[in-house]
């Protein structure tokens, strides 16, 4: 077994027993933070499936919100179990992804332009949620109707540890998908498209199909993540699950951690969540807005000074120490 594999296995074991480590009163809080890290890392990983191929979406909040609200509304109004609600939500999200990705890819809307289009889409989903306040609860949000007891069907549990293991499973599933995409033909095709779209098309790569495909995959996974979060928090709100704020946060976490690596999104998400929690605790209710201000400032500084993200920068530093063959 290689060193990396052994380390990975050790890490997995550590994560598996974490909820049972007796650290006293901090345990609830730690589990809470870890669940969030798992879910948002999963979402970040989903985003990175697009991001690594140059499809910079700034509107993933649209998929989060559409997914979370669909399953929550179906449960609240029709008692439909979130497991099936998720299927409906993912179908809708896939549809939205196609609507956005198809024209953009056919007419080569890329880079900043694509970012702007997705930004607008994300914002409008948020506005739609607020507009239909009669059944979505508008800006006040919507509480997931309590099932009253622990229920796998309703995905509601009193003990946070159940959510912990579900979230851990979700996160691992996300890593698996990432690896599969990474090793697939789709990956080579998307890289070719990223380098030179015209050249890729000329060798028969069906550019539109790949772009739309990867967008749909990313969107559907993001929706699943949104549903997971909604079930855990038991509450949905247009600002936390849609709109530019959450969309930017996802992108920040992934780019900070490292967009091109398996664990990059996780590292970035863990760091940004830890940072946000630290600032929140530090400033508490004094100086409202200061925590966010410093968060924003730090993010901008990170982007300017660490463009390759943490993972990428570490890789560069490590790579420099190894002797490289002299380039021609």
């Amino acid at each position: 077994m290689t060193g990396a594999r052994a380390l990975g296995l050790l890490g997995l074991v550590a994560l598996a027993v974490a909820p049972y480590v007796p650290i006293g009163v901090m345990r609830e809080y730690t589990i809470h933070v870890l669940v969030q890290i798992f879910i948002w890392s999963f979402i970040g990983g989903a985003w990175s499936l697009m991001g690594r191929f140059g499809l910079t979406s700034l509107g993933h909040g649209a998929f989060l919100g559409l997914g979370a609200y669909t399953s929550t509304l179906l449960w609240n109004f029709f008692g439909l179990t979130p497991w099936l609600g998720a299927v409906a939500a993912m179908a809708l999200t896939a549809g939205l992804a196609v609507i956005v990705a198809y024209p953009c890819s056919r007419f080569q809307v890329v880079g900043h332009y694509f970012g702007l289009v997705t930004l607008a889409v994300g914002e409008v989903v948020r506005l739609l949620i607020i507009a239909e306040r009669d059944w979505t609860g508008g800006s006040l949000g919507l509480t997931v109707k309590a099932a009253g007891h622990d229920s796998l069907l309703a995905v509601q549990f009193a003990d946070k540890r159940v959510f912990y293991y579900l979230a851990l499973g979700l996160w691992l599933a996300g890593l698996y998908v990432w690896v599969r995409v990474d090793r697939s033909m789709a990956r080579s095709a998307m890289e070719a498209i990223g380098e030179d779209e015209t050249a890729a098309a000329s060798v028969g790569i069906h550019v539109t199909r790949f772009k739309v495909g990867i967008t749909v995959l990313s969107a559907v996974l993001t929706a699943a993540g949104g549903i997971a979060y909604a079930q855990y928090i038991s509450y949905v709100n247009p600002d936390t699950l849609a709109g530019i704020g959450v969309s930017l946060r996802i992108v920040f976490a992934v780019v900070l951690g490292g967009m091109y690596s398996l664990l990059g999104p996780t590292v970035g998400t863990a760091l940004t969540i830890a940072l946000a929690e630290y600032l929140r605790v530090l400033f508490g209710l004094k100086f409202i807005g200061m925590a966010e201000t410093i968060y924003g400032l730090l993010l901008v500084l990170f982007i300017i000074f660490l463009p390759a993200g943490i993972y990428g920068t570490v890789r560069q530093l490590v790579g420099r120490r190894r002797p490289t063959a002299v380039a021609a």
Binding site: G51, G54, T56, L58, I99, V100, Y102, P103, C104, R106, F107, V109, G111, H112, Y113, G115, L116, V117, L119, A120, V121, E123, V124, L127, L128, I130, A131, G243, I244, G245, L248, V251, F252, V255, M259, F287, I288, G289, M290, A291, E292, T293, Y295, G296, L297, L299, V300, I303, I304, P307
Partner: protein, 288 residues
């Protein structure tokens, strides 16, 4: 059934609003067309300038035109600062990093404004006469804002077509490298462009504060619509942005009176999505 007079009133209001929206869209487009970077935090810069007018006029009691001038000057200054501090370091970075940099600025501005001034809504109250046109009440503030926005756009047009630096700005947006071969330092052209874009944000701020209240999340209300207008008109296309502004503002105003304000946005979105399918390059772009 909605009475025709209400529809007419909405249409007129839409037209008047369109003027100011056009200023926002043009400013954003100008910067993108030349520097190739979208300032996601553009409307938040407007928000800061709106606060400036509020403080100058409502708190310190200066006349509104002083507030307006202060806003324009502040806008230009902010534009230059943004370019120097945030844009210049990331000019050659990947698009996602560039978008995150201006996106991070958005976070920063919104939360810093919250910290400094809380989320209270603040407005500038002007004593203006009431006007009625064919039984429709017209806000004089809105009318003035519209007229001034048209003047500002005219000024921009003259600047870009008649002045040396304005022509250079147009040249850079068409071929950056070729302009460098004419002896133009690209950074200087970018700074002028950023200052002009910022100044337009300042003008828009002065015109908006007399119609709407400002609060730290003002950008959340006007930002998305500005982005949609820019995409609809074709990113970088000035004439397209001008036309798209009025289309969008009419859609929002009229739908707003038939259904609700938020539905107005949603309808505008549907229009936007349809247009993306039909003419992704923007409404004035050539097919394909």
């Amino acid at each position: 059934m909605i009475e025709p007079v209400f529809l007419a009133e909405a249409a007129v209001n839409g037209l008047l609003l369109g003027g100011v929206l056009a200023l926002l869209a043009l400013g954003l487009n100008l910067i993108f067309g030349v520097i190739d970077i979208v300032w996601i935090a553009y409307v938040d810069l407007v928000m800061i300038c709106m606060y400036a007018v509020y403080f100058v006029v409502q708190v310190y009691g200066w006349p509104i035109w002083v507030g307006g001038l202060a806003s324009v000057a502040l806008g230009a200054l902010l534009g230059v600062l943004v370019h120097l501090l945030i844009i210049t370091p990331i000019l050659t970075s990947a698009p996602v990093n560039q978008l995150l940099a201006t996106g991070g600025l958005l976070f920063f501005l919104q939360s810093f404004a919250t910290f400094l001034w809380t989320t209270d809504h603040r407005s500038v109250r002007l004593a203006l006469p009431r006007l009625e046109l064919f039984d429709m009440p017209i806000s004089v503030a809105r009318l003035i804002a519209f007229a001034l926005s048209i003047l500002a756009m005219l000024g921009l047009y003259l600047f870009l077509s008649r002045t040396y630096i304005g022509t250079a700005i147009r040249a850079v947006s068409q071929d950056r490298e070729a302009m460098a071969l004419m002896g133009a330092n690209p950074q200087r052209v970018y700074l002028v462009t950023s200052a002009v874009g910022g100044a337009m944000a300042g003008v828009a701020a002065a015109l908006l504060i007399i119609q709407y209240a400002v609060h730290p999340f003002f950008g959340a209300a006007f930002g998305p619509i500005t982005f949609m207008i820019c995409v609809l008109g074709g990113l970088g296309n000035m004439v397209g942005a001008f036309v798209a502004s009025f289309i969008m503002s009419e859609v929002i105003a009229v739908s707003g009176v038939i259904w609700s304000t938020e539905m107005g946005y949603v309808i505008a979105f549907v229009v936007f999505i349809v247009m993306i399918f039909v003419r992704p390059g923007g409404i004035l772009a050539k097919r394909g």
